[in-house]
Symmetry: C2
Subunit: 387 residues, 2 copies
């Protein structure tokens, strides 16, 4: 990553927003800017589909931009006036910096990529040729247009010209808050934080719901809080509410008063129902979970059908079509994996042979027999909003 | 890819199946073997978590294995007896082949990776050292254990030893047919075939449902049939039923008798309802679609909630958390992209300003006013199973 130089703008590129209708695009752009402002102090302007950011703390800004959804890529730049002399002078000093930082030398090949927006007395190709000659004169390095060691971008925008060589990839996705709110179930496992992350990536504000199954699980609140803090790093511009439900009493009812194999199905069904109640309270419009088809015994199609049944709100499972290894790869990339693998002892309410082929009618009957609605109402009333 | 040599076994590795309980694992293994047998003629055995395939047509088998879900990787091998002399002889001839095919030379570095299953008079390390010496003696090529140009794998399994240098990546996932059946909506776009593919990857047999919106769309049956044929390449071992619904008359009703902005919401809701009817007929347990949150105007949370409402079966949207560019990348990899982009003119029933913030009560009212149930019943009755 380039050396820190304050006072220089960072160009921020955003993606899918660009193809939306003008009013939608404006709304998305405004939201992205406000999400950026929320964690990066400094000046910010937007013009012709690019955001120009003049951060107070350059290093912190570069790190933060990597955690803001909607950002496709960003480049620390050197800005100068659009005239041959200024561009020549700036390009020479930019090249000298790169040599000083050992990112370039006369042994390396390079290419100039020039883009131009506005009216100028030169074409992009002419400017690229001019800049190429400047670099050759300065360093003697050979040009290689097809596979260079270093690409130097010269972006001419009206009276200003930006020079840069890095396009740091962002997270992509849509700005958080452009797609409303969802309630995401969060366990201590690998999958659920990834599911939450993917829905945030698609623009959702999230309300997190964690079920504390004590005494069937050990106290893992520290782990969950750590996970919530990690997810919060990606939530700039949206309020992330974090609720916990005491679920042990209800689970005891399932374990003691229904056939052992039913426990997991009733447990999951209850979670969705509580999540729906919470969603109505939070003005959320969907429930999100980390289900991945066939990954474990409970994640079969019959079980999904039976556990979804008592919930009328959409249940979105962004991992439903992913392999465990694909989910783990995302978890590692976003930093949740190492929290997920902190040992927490698992859930002792899980029977030896959990149901894998739930029959809807039998599940409904069991729900009625234990008066599930009443129990869930009680769990919901005691839901706790964590600070 | 290695030169075709018939009579040699291909080692096939499978993944997630390995971590399941013994009876589930056996069921998954049997299914995988039967799916392989379905498109590859030859002998097949399974032992200690590996499948050994002796195909009649080596080249065709290598291509086919790349399209069978559940296969993590596969390697064309040279097999020999487990004794120093045989291994030495076979390894020398294997190396000569690689040199002949310009995949190896004395200028390239190499490493031997040895694995051993069973009782032998040598350890894996001793065998690796022995094989390394054989290659050095044969070629003079230098050993580099950390970053070699060529890895040669020597897998000792009881009385047999397998030599190979390639691990060709497979599709991963679970064998088709281990997870029951789903009905997948298939349009002419980029997303829906990818959604179908991902659910097949997680082990689902699929029944495809395409809605023909003529006269609001042009006749695109050729394109859809092409797409179905492409998906069929991945469906070994499962019956893929392909249905089309004539949806134009119902769409006409929506266009003419409801507010213009409602058309897309009612259209989508109707598709799910027909899909549910079909699912019951096909013994399928879920509906699959290509929704990606926020990608287009109709894919908002309020619209998802309103369109899901009249369907009681789970609607799985494996792309819900993916960016367009991620979906396109998968589409290109699996070969559906170039079919999706065949121009088909789009749907002329789409209003200028489609609803993006559907209100459930208003949608339900509109459905009642146009007697939607009756129309859908008619569409369902005329559903056509294509040959």
């Amino acid at each position: 990553m380039t050396k820190i130089v304050s006072g220089r703008p960072i160009i921020v590129r955003y993606g899918e927003i660009g193809i939306k209708s003008p009013p939608v695009r404006r709304r998305f752009e405004n939201r992205l800017i406000s999400n950026i402002k929320n964690i990066i102090k400094g000046e910010i302007t937007i013009t012709q589909g690019r955001i120009f950011l003049f951060p107070e703390n350059y290093q912190q800004a570069l790190l933060s931009l990597g955690k803001i959804f909607g950002v496709v890529s960003y480049s620390p730049t050197l800005v100068t006036s659009t005239d041959y002399n200024s561009i020549k002078k700036s390009l020479r000093s930019y090249i000298q910096e790169l040599i000083h930082q050992k990112e370039f030398s006369r042994e390396k090949t390079f290419a100039i990529k020039c883009r131009r927006v506005g009216d100028h007395e030169f074409t992009s190709q002419e400017m690229a040729a001019f800049c190429g000659a400047v670099v050759v004169e300065e360093t003697g390095a050979p040009v290689d247009l097809s596979n260079p060691d270093l690409r130097i971008f010269v972006e001419v925008r009206g009276p200003k010209t930006y020079i840069f060589h890095e396009k740091i990839p962002g997270l992509g996705g849509l700005p958080i808050g452009t797609q409303g709110r969802v309630v995401t179930l969060l366990s201590g496992g690998i999958d659920s934080p990834v599911a939450a992350f993917l829905m945030m990536k698609r623009g959702c504000a999230i309300s997190i719901l964690h079920f504390n199954n004590h005494p069937y699980t050990s106290d893992s609140m520290e782990k969950i809080k750590k996970m919530v803090r990690k997810l919060k790093e990606y939530s700039s511009g949206s309020k992330m509410n974090f609720y916990t439900a005491n679920y042990g009493d209800f689970l005891k009812k399932c374990v003691e008063d229904t056939p052992p194999r039913m426990t997991c199905v009733l447990c999951k069904s209850g979670m969705y129902q509580i999540a729906e109640k919470l969603a109505r309270k939070e003005n959320a419009l969907a429930i999100v979970d980390g289900s991945s088809l066939g990954q474990v015994a409970s994640q079969t199609l019959p079980n999904i059908l039976a556990t979804h049944h008592s919930t009328s709100m959409p249940i979105l499972s962004p991992l439903i079509g992913l392999d465990k290894v694909e989910i783990q790869n995302i978890a590692e990339k976003i930093g949740t994996y190492k929290i997920s693998i902190i040992p927490d002892g698992g859930c002792s309410a899980v029977p030896k042979h959990p149901e894998t082929n739930a029959v809807l009618e039998i599940v409904i009957q069991a729900q009625q027999e234990i008066k599930m609605d009443d129990h869930l109402e009680k769990v919901f009333k005691n839901l706790r909003l964590n600070k």
